[in-house]
Amino acid sequence: MKPERWKQIDHLLRSALARVPQERSAFLARACGDDELLRNEVESLIAAHDDANNFLNTPMSQLAVDFLVNGRPRLTTGQKISHYKIIRSLGSGGMGEVYLAEDPRLGRKIALKLLPDYLTSDANRLRRFEQEARAASLLNHPNIITVYEIGEADGHHFIANEFIDGITLRERLTEARTAADASTVISRQLKLSETLDIALQMAEALVAAHEAGIVHRDIKPENVMLRRDGYVKVLDFGLAKSTVVASEPAARDVPTQIKTTPGVFMGTVEYMSPEQARGLPVDTRTDIWSLGVVLYEMIAGHIPFAGPSTSDILASILEHEPKPLTNADRTVPETLQFIIEKALIKNREERYHTSRELLADLRRLKERLATPEGGLSIRGATPSSAQKLRAQTAEGPQLSPSIAVLPFVNMSADTENEYFCDGLAEDIINALTKIENLYVVARTSAFSLKDKDIDVREIGRRLDVANVLEGSVRKAGNRLRITAQLISVKDGYHLWSERYDRELEDVFAIQDEITLAIVDNLEVKLLRGERSALLDRYRYNLEAYNLYLKGRHYWSKRPTGIGRAIEYFEQAIAKDANYALAYAGLADCYNTLGSWENGVLSPSEAMPKAKAAAETALALDSLLAEAHTSLAYGNMHYDWDWSAAEARFQRAFDINPNYPTAHHWRSHYLTARGRAEDSFDESKKFLELDPLDLFANAHLAWHYLFARKYDQAIEQCWKSRELFPDSFFPAFFSALAHEQKGMLVEAIAEFENVMKMSTNITFAKAGLGHLYAVSGEKIKAESIIAELDQISKARYVPSYDFAVIHVGLGDKEGAFAWLEKAYREHSTWLAYLRVEPRLDPLRSDSRFTDLLRRIDLLQ
């Protein structure tokens, strides 16, 4: 490969990785054109990137230690155990080492588990273990990991399992907790819907096992795998019990990892039932308890029975009641609290008697939550379709469903309506193409059959699809009659049909209904967020939408409105936890708080919250221009990742070329990178879209200022001031522009205006401090430093503010020390380091160049 070619590949790879997985293939198709090789290359690298998660993450130090000290023989890549070929180690746990291996006979990947020595060294123990493992291996259920083989070869005892491409529930919980450290927006618990989904599938697994007479005994997050496609798989059924020697009755039913040496407990006891903790014989109800503990943990973000030592935990399990879940910082449905309480009753006679009862309760709860009072079901796939899907998958892989949407037949006299008919079909095609698991014939092909009187089966054959949607439109004045039929090509059978008699203005709602009917009837598996992407669902939840609009209104009145804005966005989320737009709004509030709403939050507090909220929004709806824009803001101001920011902006424009904030913030981006003229264009575009926005007006002045076009800046300030006489921004930028022109008296006069309107904005104080300093008013400048210093005792003051005054005082050392501190703070002001005129005295210093390098502005 040539370096030039690699550059091209590398560039596409990065752009593709910046997109959500379901958008990548469409993106590459567009970007690569006819270059098949290029596309294959990038796609194989994306696959490698996804697989390479843990690759090279082990620090070399660990390897060095292994090299020098650790000599335990292990299986090696390429080695064969029985007919399985080892690919690599997946790690080790209490049940022994696990390897990824290939079964060449069936051409599939498997997980090969080597049993630990303590188990295989005792023949009796081994025999009993194998007996029970064999019994468990007969379980055949989509939520239970499939055991292919239990065997022995070359002195290794092994179990060959289905290989699960995913993460453990433990890893998922840790992930959620890590996200929580950076944010209170995204709580450290899992989402209610995710929790329920996992619990339900775990309960399904338990029902299947329990009804076959098998008890797990060691249900815990480490033994639950979450497959990428949403399936939950419970591991290691039947492996726990027999690992314990029969002659130790008290320890008989203690889970595997715990008992190593008699009398010594190691590993996890948190999920043990009281009867296990007492060493009593256990039955299926012990699993119900453990599932209760896991469920509690998913909801609360912490385990119910905790303590500093194993014996404290055991005591807590035996004696204490868990903290009620209502204490957690969000509302947990009462029914769910009841379910958990009932699973965690210490006396097993009073607990759920069977896992089936527990499953039934969970199912009812989920169904109730999934269907808001008679409204449109918009919270993800309905239970029934999910179940149908499960049934399908259990039978084996299926091809994605396919469909051709034909143009609707115009039944009106007016031929003008043709456009209307075509448009209707086109909109439905556009909506359906957003679904990854559905093949949709492109418009041109589908429309090529227009007005040709061809039988549906023939259409299906020609377009190679299994289903066809056809329909008709009759339009008279404002009245609309639309019919639609979904037909299976195979037998000509009508899967669904509907007639709508509505007003013209309902046409979008009808389109949405038809789209959803197709999805439901073809039993298309929707990925997360896809359903909402199908429809512009935000206008349906009027209550949440209104709250969102109020939030945006207050956000536009920043800085003072931010607090109110956050309240409204949070209320919208409380109304609908899946309301993606509100998360994007929240992200923007934190973006602002972390950058120039000084003294409220430091960047390291605010910006991760902004990012988390924006990512939540995108997880719910990947086609939200607002959320892509929020991320772009953080990319440039906090990560200093300029190419990521640019890619996000482009993504936002792809989705909505007229989203004002995207133009607004991209104008900042261009200014920061020194592309002044392009920046003005973006500012003007923003102004066009939102002529009465304060920032559309004032920030153009700011960009003129940083482009050193001081007269234009001053002129723009006057224009802004006429529209927004109460805002301090025009006076502030005007002051800075006058200062740069050397008109210090005018600048001070302007600053007096600023100070009248803004009493506690630190960057304004710092601006005045800098102005005093360059005017030779050293004492006044220093008193502002003292004032800022005083303020900083109570709240965050950006180090950048201090740096600016020190520059004015000619104190280079001080300025660099503060800038260095600003760098460590990830100060959002540094994004403008390249263009900020006040820092000019520092530019020739190599330390300044080094700062520019570190924030990737050295070009």
């Binding site: 690298l45 490698a48 130090s61 090299f67 020098l68 090696t76 890549t77 200093w640 502005l857």
Partner: protein, 178 residues
């Protein structure tokens, strides 16, 4: 002794010096904690840092800067570890030519050794098309340097290092799987 900036010649001249120091330090660390357990960390970065300080102190070497030293040390670290791995790997596969005694090399875990040799080869191929990315991996993985330190050594922004790291990883992983 003056060292020209990061050149191969410099590496060759300095290699014995740094090698000796790293090796000595590693042994000392091992002796101090004879029953090294898995999970106990012998930080390469700590090792390199220590070597740096000692060499600055004692040998009267005028280093251009810290970044340059780290560059060279991480390249050496790669050589040392890969050489060990290769010796072990071939000993196991070739079965005879090299008699492995109970020294460090014998204790190298076999799959790690194979992996490391494969990584070294892949890294060399990567360098042919993307020198900087290969250096990012060398500094980060073999030298134990942080993102900030790597960026400093290469004269680029930390964000560039992160991006290079991510795509280089995908490239190497694919190359090693093939």
């Amino acid at each position: 002794m003056h060292i020209p900036n990061g050149s191969e010649a410099a590496l060759d001249r300095l290699a014995p010096l740094i090698y000796e120091e790293l090796h000595r330090l590693a042994h000392r660390h091992m002796r101090r904690e004879p029953r090294y357990q898995r999970g106990h960390t012998l930080q390469t970065s700590a090792l390199v840092n220590e070597a740096y300080l000692r060499l600055i102190d004692q040998r009267n070497v005028r280093w251009q800067n810290r970044a340059q030293f780290f560059s060279i040390a991480s390249r050496l670290m790669r050589r040392i570890l890969v050489d060990h791995a290769r010796a072990h790997h071939y000993a196991k596969r070739g079965g005879g030519a090299v008699k492995v005694s109970l020294d460090e090399a014998a204790l190298v875990t076999h799959d790690r050794a194979a992996e490391l040799v494969a990584l070294d080869n892949a890294l060399t191929s990567l360098a042919a098309i993307d020198e900087r990315s290969s250096r990012v991996v060398e500094l980060g993985f073999f030298g134990g340097m942080s993102v900030e330190e790597t960026a400093e050594a290469l004269g680029v922004a930390p964000v560039t290092v992160k991006r290079d790291w991510s795509t280089a990883k995908a490239w190497l992983y694919r190359a090693m799987k093939a």
